[in-house]
Structures are given as structure tokens and as C-alpha cells.
């Protein structure tokens, strides 16, 4: 996979995902380096595993479970991510977030 084709696919995915996250109240993390790293992982996962799966959650075997971990997985983890004001990977953050250093990963079990 050439560097160029990774970059091109990254851009395509980001354009499609922007369309999904916007109505849900999220934006891409202002930390470009983090976004860049995560998107690159997703492009690689897409080539290897067939879909841009989450790079931060272990992929189970069953299709039904895996499909809930295709990015953006926000619809399936709405309450959890809304409480953290970010998705688990922090690829996406709530639109009002400017200082990402206040964000923290909190497992769903602690929020229930």
C-alpha cells in the first residue's frame, strides 16, 4: 500500500465520516496528529479486515458484534460517548470541546 493511496483513502473516509458525525453533534479532534494516526490505522484495518474498524476496541469474531465497531460507531455507543464528550478513541469530540486535555477515557461500566 503506497503512502499516496493511504493518504487518498484517509481523505475520502474523513469526508464521509464528517457527514455522519456532524448531525450527531461531534467534530474531528482538533489534535491533528492524533486524527492522522487513527485514520491511518483505519485505512489499514479497512484493507486487512474489510472495514474501517475501531483501532481502540478489540474486534470480536461475530459479524453482529464487529459491525458495531465500524467507525463512526457513535450510534451504538451514544450514551457512553456523550458522557465522555468524545468517542472512545477521541477521534471525534463534542463540537464545544476546545481543550482536549480535559477529556478522559471512562469505561461504560463506571457511568452506568
Amino acid at each position: 500500500m503506497s503512502e499516496r493511496s493511504i493518504e487518498a483513502r484517509k481523505k475520502q473516509l474523513m469526508k464521509m465520516f464528517q457527514r455522519v458525525i456532524d448531525p450527531l453533534g461531534y467534530k474531528f479532534n482538533p489534535d491533528n496528529e492524533l486524527v492522522d494516526f487513527i485514520m491511518e490505522q483505519e485505512v489499514k484495518l479497512e484493507r486487512e479486515a474489510g472495514a474501517p474498524f475501531c483501532p481502540c476496541q478489540a474486534l470480536p469474531e461475530r459479524r453482529e458484534d464487529r459491525m458495531k465497531l465500524v467507525c463512526p460507531c457513535i450510534p451504538y455507543h451514544r450514551k457512553h460517548f456523550d458522557a465522555m464528550k468524545a468517542c472512545w478513541c477521541q477521534l471525534y469530540v463534542h463540537k464545544d470541546i476546545t481543550d482536549t486535555s480535559q477529556l478522559e477515557q471512562i469505561p461504560i461500566t463506571e457511568l452506568e
Partner: protein, 113 residues
């Protein structure tokens, strides 16, 4: 007039895209109007129209699975209500829908603008 291989009988904004004899419950058919691809689906005698493109990653919805009023995208299983176009888990996410009706034998779609 011809748009994307479909005979248009324009009636205000209503556009004729198919004939009702081609439909029975559960049948799906993709039609083109201008540059739009629209998926027509009949459920309980009524025809519904949604854009044939998934809002997630643009997969064609006509290969998806229909169950009741729910269509499941073939690519990553996102589920939408064909009556509203809404994602079942997040109603802010919508596939555009088109009002449809049957006039005599014609299936008509209401096109905006």
C-alpha cells in the same frame, strides 16, 4: 422526456418512474431520476422511496435486507426505517426519502424543486 432511462411523465413535481404491476410486497426496484438513484420498496401495499445510497459509506441500499419497515445496509448493517429514512439507533442520521404514490398504474415520486 427521458432521464436515466426512465420515462418521465411530469405532473407538477410528481414524476412517473415505474408501473405498479412491477411491485408486490417486499419488492425493491432502483430507478433513476436525473442523476439521483432512488430505491422503491413496497411494504403492505404501499410504495416507499429512499435514496439508494447509504449515508455511512455510500453503499447501494438495494442489496440490503428488508424486514418489516427496516432496511439493513449490506455493508456494515446500519438499519434505517424506510418510512422516515432514519437510522434506528440515531434519528439525526437520515437517508433522504421521497414521497411515492400510485396513479392508475403509474408509480409516481414527488421530486423537490
Amino acid at each position: 422526456m427521458n432521464a436515466g432511462g426512465v420515462n418521465l411523465k411530469e405532473n407538477n413535481k410528481w414524476v412517473s418512474v415505474s408501473v405498479s404491476s412491477e411491485f408486490s410486497d417486499g419488492s425493491m426496484k432502483v430507478v433513476s431520476v436525473g442523476d439521483q438513484r432512488i430505491l422503491l420498496i413496497q411494504v403492505q401495499g404501499k410504495i416507499y422511496g429512499i435514496e439508494n445510497t447509504c449515508i455511512h459509506m455510500n453503499c447501494p441500499m438495494h442489496r440490503g435486507l428488508l424486514e418489516g419497515y427496516t432496511i439493513k445496509c449490506p455493508c456494515h448493517d446500519w438499519e434505517f426505517d424506510i418510512r422516515t429514512g432514519e437510522h434506528l439507533m440515531a434519528d439525526e442520521l437520515k437517508i433522504p426519502v421521497f414521497e411515492c404514490k400510485i396513479d392508475e398504474n403509474d408509480v409516481l415520486i414527488k421530486m423537490e424543486g
